[in-house]
Amino acid sequence: MPLSLNPDRAGQAGALTVLTPIAPGAEPALRAYLEGLRAGPSPLSRLPRTHFGRWVIVPDLVAEDEREPTRLESPQLLFTASFDGPLDAYLDELCRVLAAEAREIWGRCTGVPSPPEGAALKAYLRAHHQRTGYFVAAYPQAAVDEVRAALSQRDAVIAFARAAQEMDPAALQAAFHERLGG
């Protein structure tokens, strides 16, 4: 794991954690909207630098044995992403590309600018960003497109290795250059 003094970073990967208060009465509709996103491609797939992302509704906090447990005054919407590159550029992209979804999601939160888009939405998300304490990444230097390319290439190598078993040396070399480059 490379040394990183910025707690929101691990290598080139960044951690974004945003907690925003859900407007009174808006939780059921927000939950229905978010759960409905499973029916199609995730909107996060349109942010090509997102490795993983989630929206989670926090209805309240669970207490154990504390004397005065904290109760949330309003349920919170948690959004997190593990992404490539600088946070600023990622938020710019999110606010631009997910403008329609942002209206349905953060538009149901308290204090959000109207309309919830562009620079105003970015400022809102930044203001509600929770700084990470400790962030762990298994492959901190690999961007999403690099991971995907490496996975495709691995499939290609496996397929080629099978196909090449019976090839003579000249055919093997020619096929390798054709299918795996070099």
Partner: protein
């Protein structure tokens, strides 16, 4: 005493978690726990130490099923005062929920105590039954979870990245070889990368 429960989870999948926490092979876990007064100064020191001394969390890095994970101490929310700070933990991993918590309990026993020891009600990582019940009580189901490469496990991603590096080297060292030498090099390459395939 639980003052609030997350909405009832749906039926568990073969992975041992709610289907909403699953995207392909990827599983997410989301946990909040209230932190005792001494966790407020303690946890930032733990996080700092973990960042400055990467070898201190080497075991965590070697758990081959975690893509990304994070711990955050939530001290305040903009619109409300928190009587107790909250420790937020999330992980993006593959495998099964039970196996994941088992690995945390058995392999990272001391580490789990360091991270969660200041949380109210933390039962110690072992025996795992009580620890799993604790995590279940504090876990939230995602309303939407996304992975950019849902069918790839962490091990496959790491293997693919290693293979990419070795394939580049192979291309470079076989450039200009005659076919017979290339065929021998290819066989040696397959042996070298068999763990990545």
């Amino acid at each position: 005493m639980a003052i609030a429960e997350a909405p009832s989870p749906g039926p568990l999948t073969a992975t041992g978690t709610d289907p909403r926490n699953v995207d392909g092979q990827a599983i997410c876990i989301t946990v909040f726990s209230a932190v005792k007064w001494w966790g407020r100064p303690w946890l930032p020191l733990v996080f700092l130490y973990a960042r400055l001394v990467p070898s201190s969390t080497g075991t965590l890095a070697r758990l081959s099923f975690i893509h990304f994970a994070r711990w955050t101490l939530v001290r305040r929310l903009p619109e409300q005062r928190l009587r107790h700070p909250q420790l937020f933990f999330e992980s993006n991993f593959n495998g099964g929920w039970e196996e994941y918590i088992d690995a945390f309990s058995h392999i990272l026993t001391r580490g789990m105590t360091v991270f969660w020891g200041s949380s109210y009600g933390f039962p110690k990582p072992l025996p795992t039954g009580r620890f799993k019940a604790y995590i279940k009580r504090h876990e939230l189901v995602a309303s939407h979870f996304y992975s950019a490469y849902p069918e790839a496990t962490t091990t496959i991603v790491l293997s693919a990245l290693e293979l990419d590096e070795k394939l580049r080297a192979f291309r470079a060292r076989t450039k200009g070889m005659d076919p017979e030498a290339f065929a021998r090099a290819w066989q040696a390459f397959l042996t070298e990368v068999q763990g990545c395939l």
